[in-house]
């Protein structure tokens, strides 16, 4: 499996995309950014559907920037699935498998993996949103790409289906060792999937690297809604009510209580002992408390009164409490 690297520049009217980043062969890279930050444009450039004004794209060290889309070993799953309406589910997947340079995967195997074996003979017109997403993913995988790009594949899904789809993506990565770059602007999805992070704002990369580290950078936090300020924490460190299969959980600063002494007789399942590293007064009169814990750095938002009453200061021990159902 191969690393995808890009250093490109593309001007479209008033908008300039200038992105330089690397998506490693190991793990899933999340491409995060608000609407209009150029995420989809970047994907179309990587896939070869759009030519950058200058720059280069390499896959496993080999330049692919001059190849048209149909000669790149890069798969792309579009937000709107884009299944071929004149073909059945089976034929859609076979379309990709037939054109794979080293031979594609068997349609039946792919279908079983994505739990769509029962749909194979159906026309694609009357599939549900979730089914369409799965078929599009199956079709992209059947081509056996070296790298897979996904443009908000769960935009059309909600709740349980969304979580199920994320679990499928994690399975796909684990079983097929397929490196992926997944676009999302949902921080929970990003944390659940991402081992790496590339954050895009107005066409520029503002943060990138290991997910937990890069997501702590102020440039990344500033992309988030104030209520979403928080930190990624490995799912294994917490007891979550619905943490099945997720890589990490985004623990919002508003979800984390602090105690200056070890709490007793508490229903909350997650109590982490840590040490305060910094206090950040916010413009909305709250205070963000940054602490180190065995699970990594955490953020908690509390009132200035609480800071005074608990005598919180950098270096002091503190206990962070999270309710399992909030996760």
């Amino acid at each position: 499996m191969k690393t995808l690297e890009a250093d490109i520049e593309l001007k479209q009217g008033m908008f300039t995309l200038r992105a330089r980043f690397s998506a490693p062969a190991e793990g899933i890279t999340v491409l995060f950014g608000p609407s209009g930050s150029g995420k989809t444009t970047l994907l179309t450039v990587l896939a070869g559907l759009k030519r950058p004004d200058r720059g280069m794209v390499t896959l496993g060290g080999a330049p692919v920037g001059d190849l048209p889309a149909h000669r790149r070993d890069i798969g792309l799953v579009f937000q709107d699935a884009r299944l071929f309406p004149h073909l059945t589910v089976h034929q859609n997947i076979a379309y990709a498998a037939r054109r794979a340079p080293q031979g594609g995967l068997a349609v039946e195997d792919v279908a079983r993996f994505f739990d769509i074996a029962g749909l194979l003979d159906r026309p694609v017109g009357n599939l549900s949103g979730g089914e369409k997403s799965r078929v599009a993913l199956a079709r992209a995988l059947a081509m056996r790409p070296d790298f897979l790009l996904l443009d908000e594949p769960f935009a059309a899904l909600d709740g349980i289906r969304r979580r199920a789809f994320i679990a499928t993506l994690l399975d796909l990565h684990r079983v097929h060792k397929l490196p992926m770059l997944v676009v999302t602007h949902n921080i929970d999805d990003a944390a659940a999937l991402g081992s790496h992070l590339v954050a895009l704002q107005a066409g520029h990369v503002v943060a990138s690297g290991d997910f937990a580290t890069a997501s702590r950078q102020p440039a990344f936090q500033s992309l988030l809604d104030a209520r979403d300020t928080g930190a990624a924490i490995s799912a294994g460190m917490l007891q979550a009510a619905s943490g099945n299969g997720r890589g990490a959980i985004w623990l919002r600063a508003d979800q984390l209580l602090l105690a200056s002494e070890r709490p007793h007789g508490l229903s909350a399942r997650n109590v982490l002992e840590g040490q305060i590293t910094a206090l950040w007064p916010q413009s909305d009169q709250s205070v963000l408390v940054e602490l180190n814990s065995p699970a990594g750095a955490l953020l908690s938002r509390i009132t200035p009164q609480a800071v005074r009453e608990l005598a919180l200061a950098p270096g002091n021990p503190v206990w962070a409490i999270a309710k399992a159902h909030l996760l």
Binding site: G75, R82, P85
Partner: protein
Amino acid sequence: MLVTSLWVAANAVLWSLPLAVAAAFALSRRFPGKLALEGVTHLPIILPPVLVGFVLLMLFGRRGPIGSVLAQAGIHLAFTAKGAALATAVMIFPVFVRSIRLAFEATDRNLFEAAAVLRAGPFDRFFSIALPLAGPGILAGMVMAFAAALGEFGAVITFAANIPGQTQTLPLAIYAVLQEPGGETAALRLAGISFILAMAGLGAAALLQRWAGRRLAG
């Protein structure tokens, strides 16, 4: 003469189909020189039919630059049923191209991008995506063109003349009987046949178009 009409119309449609599909597909995209192609395609609508027939006569006549070459191969077009089909094909070309072009333009461009990232090259995309999706529209265009072909007059009579049993199509036959005194009854009968054929063609085209629409909606 009904057989002649059907033969001429069928041949005009079938032989011009590849060229019409190619022109329609080209016109549904952007490329340099599109305006010129658009102009050439529409020429038969603007020119008087008799002039089209005359130009064909100059080119494909026994002494014309193309006609003399074809004559050596034993192919004669002027004043033959094949010639009637050629004149008809030229005249229906604008209508034919237009209806096929609509079918190509109605297909979702995004599907071509989806095919490209699945490693389908340009020709592959044309045959595996564009053509099948436009198929019902192309079929509707063929029926439409066929109906229009049954009515061609000016260019056909100029290039292929009005020879009963050979180049005399329905409209030419109507014209011929009207030349004779008391031919109105016969003309009316022929006009009735002509009208029914045209209506059947329109109806079939409409049905096919609706099928095409449903298919594209997925």
